[in-house]
């Protein structure tokens, strides 16, 4: 009797100290330094919020066990070479059970070589270029709508306002932007737009004067392109400084960042294809609503979430659901659960391609177009302007 009592006491004490709680380690790199810092930090905050909510709730249940989340993270310095070393380290030394991608398509494609080699599942966000998914990978799962979808929304919106617009494409010479602009240019021509100028610039470009002169000479009325935060914000500032009379300016990635308001007047009217916006009203079948996510994010970071942040959070959410369905962190069972995923969260629909020639490519998610507008008090706000069914404000066109 005494032994039973001692055992019961031990069980109570151990339960109280979290005994029986398992830990799942997720490895990923963050660009704490370098040109991808702004976008990468926002994505990291999404990961972090998801982890903190899970752990604060005492973990999540799968197969009768409870799991906490632990991160193994390093600074990749926005550098592919560091990514290769660090993903190997996270797998071999940190014993990461699963991996999230670094930020950006080039860094992700480098990380994918390592994760596939070791047969580790990696969920990617902030990496829209689709070529990596055509290389026969089996453990890679993309959360973002692929690159060819990005500028289609902007061109559809433009078609509704000004079918005779003359279009220039000025974009970063990176795998992501090239993967976005190449199909967008063909789509623009298919819609009947006159594409009058196209030029790619080096990723580290800071002086756009020569390109801006070419845009002026081309008589383009609409400019689409950009790349990431550093170059996109610089291009927007310099277009404003040179008073280029564009009717519409759509830039990739950069204007989605809450930091965009720092550009002041140069930020007004700029449109950005977005994976998600706080105004999105998807009916969540799993996880928090968009409003709850945005509220929790703003409370933690004192800034509204960007689509990079939402993409980071939803990486965690989809992995959590797959682990729950698999009954634990067994890699093969989780991969099978991810393969059969077809669910709508606050972020929208998520479904992965499962064919050999595009395994892991995101096929369920769709894009929206957001625009920075001034509200009645003169404060800059980001509004959803396309598709019309989900708009929170009308597209302002022309902006000049």
């Amino acid at each position: 009797m005494k032994q039973v009592a001692l055992l019961a006491l031990a069980a109570v004490l151990l339960a109280g100290t979290g005994f029986g709680q398992q830990t799942i380690t997720i490895g990923f790199t963050v660009s704490k330094t370098g040109v991808l810092n702004v976008d990468s930090t926002e994505k990291y905050r999404g990961f972090e919020l998801w982890r903190d909510q899970i752990n604060a709730a005492g973990g999540f249940k799968a197969g009768g066990k409870s799991y906490n989340i632990k991160f193994a993270t390093y600074d990749d310095e926005s550098n592919s070479k560091r990514v290769q070393q660090l993903y190997t380290r996270m797998i071999l030394e940190d014993k990461a059970d699963f991996l999230f991608s670094p930020y950006s398509s080039p860094l992700t494609s480098t990380a994918a070589v390592v994760t596939e080699q070791y047969g580790k599942i990696m969920l990617t966000s902030g990496a829209a270029e689709g070529k990596t998914y055509t290389l026969g990978n089996h453990f890679l799962f993309q959360m973002f709508a692929p690159a060819p979808e990005y500028l289609k929304v902007a061109l559809d919106a433009l078609k509704s306002k000004d079918p005779k617009a003359t279009v220039a494409f000025v974009y970063e010479d990176s795998s992501f932007s090239v993967a976005v602009v190449t199909p967008a240019k063909a789509y623009a021509q298919q819609l009947g737009f006159n594409v009058v100028f196209t030029e790619a610039y080096a990723p580290a470009t800071t002086d756009f004067s020569a390109i801006i002169d070419k845009v002026i000479n081309s008589k383009a009325t609409v400019l689409l392109g950009g790349g990431h935060y550093a170059d996109g914000s610089t291009l927007a500032r310099q277009l404003q400084g040179h008073k280029v009379p564009l009717k519409m300016l759509t830039l990739l990635v950069a204007p989605d960042s809450p930091q965009w308001v720092e550009l002041g007047d140069a930020a007004v009217g700029i449109t950005v294809p977005s994976q998600w916006a706080p105004q999105s009203t998807f009916k969540s079948q799993y996880g928090p609503s968009g409003a709850d996510f945005a509220k929790a994010y703003a409370a933690k970071y004192n800034t509204p979430p960007s689509y990079e942040s939402a993409g980071g959070y939803v990486c965690g959410l989809i992995l959590q659901r797959a682990i729950e369905q698999a009954g634990g962190p067994d890699s093969a069972k989780v991969a099978a659960a991810l393969n059969s995923t077809d669910i709508t969260t606050f972020y929208g629909r998520t479904q992965f391609a499962t064919a050999d020639n595009n395994h892991g490519l995101q096929v369920g998610h769709s894009m929206i177009l957001a625009q920075w507008q001034k509200d009645k008090s003169g404060k800059l706000t980001k509004e959803v302007v396309w598709p019309l069914a989900g708009k929170s404000a009308n597209l302002v066109y022309p902006i000049h």
Partner: protein, 280 residues
């Protein structure tokens, strides 16, 4: 093209510092890029603290550059002047790495902006930003001031004398150590000032100085060693070249053209465009 001219003046100012040090003490100063970057951050910090006209802040940056240059001279350069070129290369490279390492620890390698804008001038469809115009004017004024200093003041003449023949200058009672210290200080002040000007035009990181250091090498070779004012003109020519060729080719080809020119000038005009021709 006009944008190219305006930016070219800033390239020229950046190269003047490198050219002066190279010409006077035969030292290829590899701290040049990191000092340009420090000038950028000096402007960023001063402007954030004082929020006054950014171009007024050039004055304290020149003084800070002069003092920092003197410190660097005594720390890493004085001991290797007159010795193998490799020694000074390694010594200044070490200082460069220290500055970049400390700078990265403090500011990371994320981009920064100086949010100061002057109204521009519009001619037809083209607008030239006030910052470009002010940076170019500042560069020319500083270059002229340096030229006056070198040719009209006793210290300036001493610097030129040491550059021409150090031993003869010492025999005339000139303290070459003092002159070299001042010359190095001025070289660093010019590098930091050009960095401060660049920061009012473009975003920057602690690593941004490397781009302008490379341009400074091209400009210095174009002008000829030890020709500070020639460096300003060569900088303007380089900017002009960028402005002239970019309508016809993609901007990403510019470095190829610049370094192609670098090789051509080295082969065809080893003394530089403004250098003395070798006599048989």
């Amino acid at each position: 093209m006009i944008d190219g001219l305006l930016v070219g003046a800033v390239y020229g100012l950046a190269a003047m510092g490198l050219s002066l040090i190279w010409g006077v003490m035969d030292v290829i100063n590899l701290t040049h890029g990191s000092m340009i970057a420090l000038g950028m951050f000096a402007m960023y910090l001063l402007f954030a603290a004082l929020t006054i006209n950014a171009y007024v802040l050039l004055l304290p940056i020149i003084v800070a550059g002069l003092l920092l240059g003197i410190v660097v001279y005594w720390m890493a350069v004085h001991w290797v002047v007159g010795r193998s070129m490799l020694m000074s290369l390694l010594s200044t490279f070490a200082v460069n790495m220290m500055v970049i390492g400390i700078g990265t620890a403090i500011w990371s390698t994320s981009p920064y902006n100086v949010n100061f804008t002057l109204p521009g001038i519009t001619i037809g469809a083209y607008t030239f930003t006030g910052n470009h115009i002010a940076a170019a004017i500042s560069s020319v004024v500083i270059a002229l001031a340096l030229q006056l200093f070198l040719y009209q003041t006793r210290t300036g003449k001493a610097i030129r004398a040491v550059a021409d023949n150090r031993e003869a200058a010492e025999l005339m009672g000139i303290s070459s150590t003092l002159v070299l210290t001042i010359a190095f200080g001025i070289g660093i002040a010019l590098a930091m000032t050009s960095g401060a000007l660049v920061s009012t035009l473009f975003p920057f990181t602690i690593l941004s100085g490397a781009t302008y250091q490379l341009k400074s090498f091209v400009v210095t070779i174009l002008a000829g060693l030890g020709k500070p004012f020639g460096a300003l003109i060569a900088g303007v020519l380089l900017g002009l070249l960028e402005g002239v060729v970019t309508p016809f080719i993609a901007v990403s080809w510019i470095p190829l053209i610049e370094f192609g020119l670098f090789v051509v000038v080295l082969v065809a005009f080893p003394q530089g465009i403004f250098g003395k021709r070798a006599t048989a």
